[in-house]
Symmetry: C2
């Protein structure tokens, strides 16, 4: 058997320790698959004394992870620290510059700096691998980068954040409001103490930036992605969506049009019985459409120790076996600066919830504005009556350009009868 | 740019010509991804004069495909002839022996001879790739071989034949009988003139043999797979399954138990709302369960020119880029001779349809036999009454060993009151 593949792990949270568990439990099989043993040489984390449930006694403990990049007894660095800047970014840059392969789950780092890091890896002829960064339980990076490499990708879209999908599922099943369900999710460990990365859509946005780079050969360009989270959604919206035959999902969508690529990350209504509509709880689901392969769907766990560590180790086996492939499928120097389609020009059906005073003439004012923007009403629901009090009115609207819809929504929002900001969501037939 | 990757295609049916179309349409992008151009040098098929809608003028035409194996201007052979023996088997063996990579969609060949061919490829340090052999629209070979390489696979199961799934879907939607729907499927080109490979489960069985080899590191061992097709299913079964909340799907299942691996290929009832239950028409769907990654599902087109050719070209790009990986993930010499679990010892719930004479005492006779085999009845349906005439009685049965159920079914089938062979199917909760 040839030389062992020697790695160091920086960051020993649940995923880092999960990697140690897998490499220990499946050492023999992994050596068979990789063609040589994968051996942990050193680890680095904040607190040496913490009990992580794994035996670290045979491993070098390094206090300052930056030292790992300089060691010549290490072939690859597993970066499990997280964050787009600071220690993680520094370690990855130093490691690549020193000719060490890097495996990471750090979607923030890659969404912000992926292009530059891919260039650096290429210059050194080494691998920068990040299967664990997007939907750990689905080999979606490999599928886009290798499995569907024969296709021009038309679109990639789906449910990219398990925490949000769990919250939306719970809201639907229990009828409770966002803040209530979020609190419970935090207690159960499904949501972070600071949940904003998840519920504001940032985490899913990072993933969409990576998927669009892989799909279209463009820079990740996270900065130009428009993101809407789920924290403004109410039990009322969930209820009305259900009554109309839909479920609300936080969707990342990247779609090739003739004029450019449309990207959006926002909660949308999808048909209840559709394949995305039936993906519930902490699961992720991604559709890819290619010009030859057609549409394919993958569903699996998005996060958690097991799935994420599984993806990290798969990357390690690939690299140990000799896989050298550009981080985004095509050489970084050939990645294009993207032409994003002005989202205002894409067409969609819409859901619009208005909190209005229940008084004569309300619908006339709203429908006059819609008429002025040439927007056709498909359906309207108002339950009960409560003269002089606020009441929910929900409309669904036929295909209209996003720009016109936003303008109409602003005009409606400015009416005196409005008691809250209108809630506007795309209806995706997918 | 380095030397082009030079290929020859043997067999120019829809998939072979599809490969030519992709390599032509996406030549530039494929060269970027592979790191060098993929160039077709020669082709071989039965009829040179046939119009296939692709331009063959710049390519060498070879009448006898066996000659391709001996040419030293070719790096890889794309075998699109088909069949487990004869010309295809001969070409693949000669090509591997001559040190040429082989890409094929030939599931029959690999299910029967995969182990020996993998040994031969390994000896020559070349690739034997077959992503297109199983569910062309899903990169399932890559997922099992690479994506989930960090896991002990617990099970792999799903819908592996689009023709059968199309027929079962049509039967359900139209209420028509098997032979009627088959005829229409043949007219539409969804089923072959000789449909037995599909409807008798052979094609799906070949695929299951390959998936179980990849999942468990064992020989494909198609010969020891018990297969039941769908041609005995009636509109009555489809109807009763629906009434009970199920859909009938032809499932391939391979599952690791403590005592060995259980494999079966047979029509089963699955819950209507389950993820497999909602996969309809020509689609394939495969679940994989690993000890760290958990459960994941992939859905995509199983066959057809585009998806299958897409998978072939993905394999070519991998090999052109330098991927060298054992055909079944682990080295062929380390593949184990499988220990198949005696299916009679696995437990399942069951659906049992009996065509009996409608006369007093029928249920007493049937239930006495079930009692003798210690099988509990979960539910029983009989619609209408027609004294003295044949009538359908459908039972669902609680968990019972397959062996006891088969024995009881035989005993029931031998009763005088029976008018047809009983129809017995597993109910899979999955």
């Amino acid at each position: 058997m040839t030389q062992p593949f020697r790695i160091a792990i920086a960051g020993l949270g649940t995923v880092g320790t999960g990697v140690i568990k897998i490499l220990e439990k499946h050492a023999a099989e992994i050596a068979l698959r990789a063609g040589r043993p994968v051996e942990i040489i050193a680890v680095s984390a904040r607190d040496k004394s913490k009990d992580r449930g794994v035996d670290l006694s045979g491993l070098d403990w390094v206090d300052d992870c930056a030292e790992l990049a300089a060691r010549d007894d290490i072939d690859a660095i597993v970066e499990m620290i997280g964050g787009s800047e600071g220690k993680a970014a520094d370690l990855v840059r130093r490691s690549l510059a020193a000719g060490k392969h890097v495996v990471t789950a750090n979607k923030a780092l890659l969404a912000h700096h992926g292009y530059g890091l891919a260039l650096l890896a290429e210059e050194k002829n080494i691998s920068l691998a990040y299967e664990a960064a997007v939907a750990g339980g689905i080999p979606i990076i490999k599928t886009l980068r290798e499995g569907f490499a024969a296709n021009e990708i038309r679109s990639v879209y789906g449910i990219l954040n398990g925490t949000c999908n769990y919250i939306l599922t719970e809201m639907r099943e229990t009828g409770r409001d966002f803040s209530d369900v979020l609190k419970e999710a935090q207690e159960k460990g499904y949501a972070e103490a600071d949940p904003s990365f998840d519920v504001d859509g940032i985490d899913a946005g990072h993933k969409l930036a990576l998927l669009s780079a892989l799909a279209f050969g463009t820079h990740p360009d996270f900065e130009n992605l428009k993101i809407t989270g789920i924290s403004h959604l109410t039990a009322t919206d969930i209820h009305f969506a259900g009554e109309l035959g839909y479920r609300i999902k936080l969707l990342g969508i990247a779609r090739r049009h003739d004029a450019g690529i449309m990207r959006t990350l926002e909660p949308c209504l999808v048909p209840k019985e559709s394949q995305l509509g039936s993906v519930e709880g902490v699961f992720n689901a991604v559709f890819i459409e290619g010009d030859f392969v057609g549409k394919s769907l993958s569903v699996g766990r998005g996060a958690g120790e097991g799935p994420t560590a599984s993806a990290v180790v798969a990357d390690l086996i690939d690299i140990a076996r000799g896989l050298r492939i550009p981080a985004f499928g095509r050489p970084a120097k050939d990645m294009a600066a993207p032409t994003w389609l002005d989202a205002g020009k894409t067409q969609s059906r819409y859901y619009l919830r208005l909190e209005v005073l229940d008084e004569p003439g309300v619908i006339a004012q709203v429908s006059a504005i819609l008429r002025d923007y040439k927007i056709s009403i498909e359906s309207m629901i108002q339950h009960g009556r409560d003269p002089g009090q606020p009441v929910s009115v929900v409309l669904t609207l036929h295909e209209v350009s996003s720009g016109a819809m936003q303008d109409a929504c602003r005009a409606i929002g400015a009416l005196d009868i409005m008691r809250e900001k209108p809630c506007l969501m795309r209806i995706e037939s997918l």
